[in-house]
């Protein structure tokens, strides 16, 4: 009698361990699957140009503000600018409102808004992305003057 009970007790314990191991294996498998899928809340200029971003839905887009592309409206707060991925892809963003302090040409931004069928991104909100490379102004100047190509690779590293 007692022996039998012990057995069921032990079988239970084994069941539990098998159960936990299976669940853990399942969790790991699905994590690996999930890591292979790219969850997209954010679209790069290249993806927008290629037409991967949905039209008329609120999405996030971002990139580097291209030098000399910022056009401010003569009246009101309207502004339009071009963001690029420093390669070929470019997207025009239109925005009406006050831009953050950190907004400037050559700086990374993130915009929340909708893509119109003309390929223009109408932003409801523009946020400046600040990067993790902190440096004093003199260093930044030196970097800029030093070499065009090195500055570009630096910027690329910034954006990524």
């Amino acid at each position: 009698m007692k022996f039998g009970r012990m057995k069921s007790h032990r079988r239970n314990r084994m069941l539990i361990i098998v159960f936990i191991v299976c669940a853990a294996a399942g969790a790991t498998t699905f994590t690996l699957f999930a890591l292979n899928e790219n969850i997209n809340l954010f679209y790069s200029p290249e993806q927008i140009v290629r037409g991967e971003a949905p039209l008329g839905k609120t999405i996030r887009a971002g990139g580097m503000v291209q030098d000399g592309s910022v056009i401010r409206a003569e009246e009101g707060l309207g502004v339009s600018f071009v963001v690029s991925d420093l390669k070929s892809a470019q997207v025009t963003i239109e925005f009406e409102g006050i831009l953050p302090d950190m907004f400037r040409e050559g700086q990374g931004i993130i915009a929340l808004g909708q893509l119109t069928d003309k390929g223009v991104f109408v932003a409801e909100e523009v946020l400046a992305k600040h990067d993790e490379n902190y440096m004093p102004p003199e260093v930044a100047d030196a970097l800029k003057n030093e070499h065009q190509s090195s500055a570009e690779t630096y910027n690329k590293a910034n954006y990524n």
């Binding site: 946020l127 600040h130 004093p136």
Partner: protein, 245 residues
């Protein structure tokens, strides 16, 4: 093997040992905090993009680091309590929870103040910020459970279980930046990688991080000592100690 461990677990021995360390630790941390803050506010060059607002980093980043590792320390103590049933570990959990909650609050507050000039908004619902907020709620949960179970013998074990459950949340915090592409920059400071900041900017940050840790430990130890005195107030050694005061 665990002899020293169990020895330290005795409230009396911990009290005697920590008594020697407490005051120098507190002084060192206060000196480093003032020194580091003065350094950061007066002598560190402004950032090329953010200007002077980068100085908030010296308050924000150490708080954010400590907020997370504080929770790890709490759940470490919780694990020690659940495994070896060392009463002192429970006292440590009890004493660290409000400390961790306040440091998380500081991290959130300074993050909001920093976010305004740099991102253009006080608060962004991105993964990192959200998970720090969740961390804050986790601390609050441990505190709330403790205060609700005040009269229960199982309060310590219940809080320890909750702390360990919450630690599952920490990887989520760690990896959240990679899960969701968001505004928040990657961690600005890590021990393994070469810092992307020049030396005159990260050295004061290092000083501040160490100072925060030391201050945290000093306050933690002081709280534990208070708690020990309260719970052991009827023992002979506490009475003797009080007599020498």
């Amino acid at each position: 093997m665990f002899k020293w461990f169990h020895r330290l677990g005795s409230p009396k021995i911990f009290f005697e040992m920590s008594g020697r360390w407490q005051v120098p630790l507190l002084w060192l941390s206060v000196v480093m905090l003032t020194g580091g803050a003065a350094w950061a506010l007066l002598f560190v060059p402004p950032d090329y993009q953010q200007g002077n607002s980068v100085r908030i980093m010296y308050i924000h980043v150490p708080a954010a680091i400590l907020a997370q590792s504080g929770y790890v320390m709490m759940s470490g103590a919780a694990a020690v309590f659940l495994i070896w049933r060392i009463k002192l570990a429970d006292v440590a959990v009890k004493c660290i929870a409000p400390l961790g909650a306040s440091i998380t609050f500081i991290a959130l507050l300074t993050g909001a103040i920093w976010g305004k000039p740099t991102w253009g908004t006080w608060w962004v619902w991105d993964a990192r910020l959200t998970s720090t907020l969740v961390l804050f709620f986790l601390y609050i949960g441990v505190i709330a459970l403790r205060s609700a179970m005040e009269r229960h013998a199982g309060a310590g074990r219940a809080c320890a279980i909750l702390a360990l459950v919450g630690v599952v949340n920490l990887p989520v915090i760690k990896f959240s930046v990679e899960w969701w592409y968001t505004l928040h920059q990657p961690a600005s400071f890590s021990l393994t990688e070469k810092p992307t900041m020049p030396v005159e900017m990260w050295l004061p940050l290092l000083v501040m991080v160490v100072a925060y840790y030391l201050f945290f430990f000093a306050i933690w130890i002081m709280r534990i000592r208070n708690e020990i005195l309260l719970t052991e107030k009827n023992t002979d050694w506490v009475k003797q100690w009080l007599a020498t005061r």
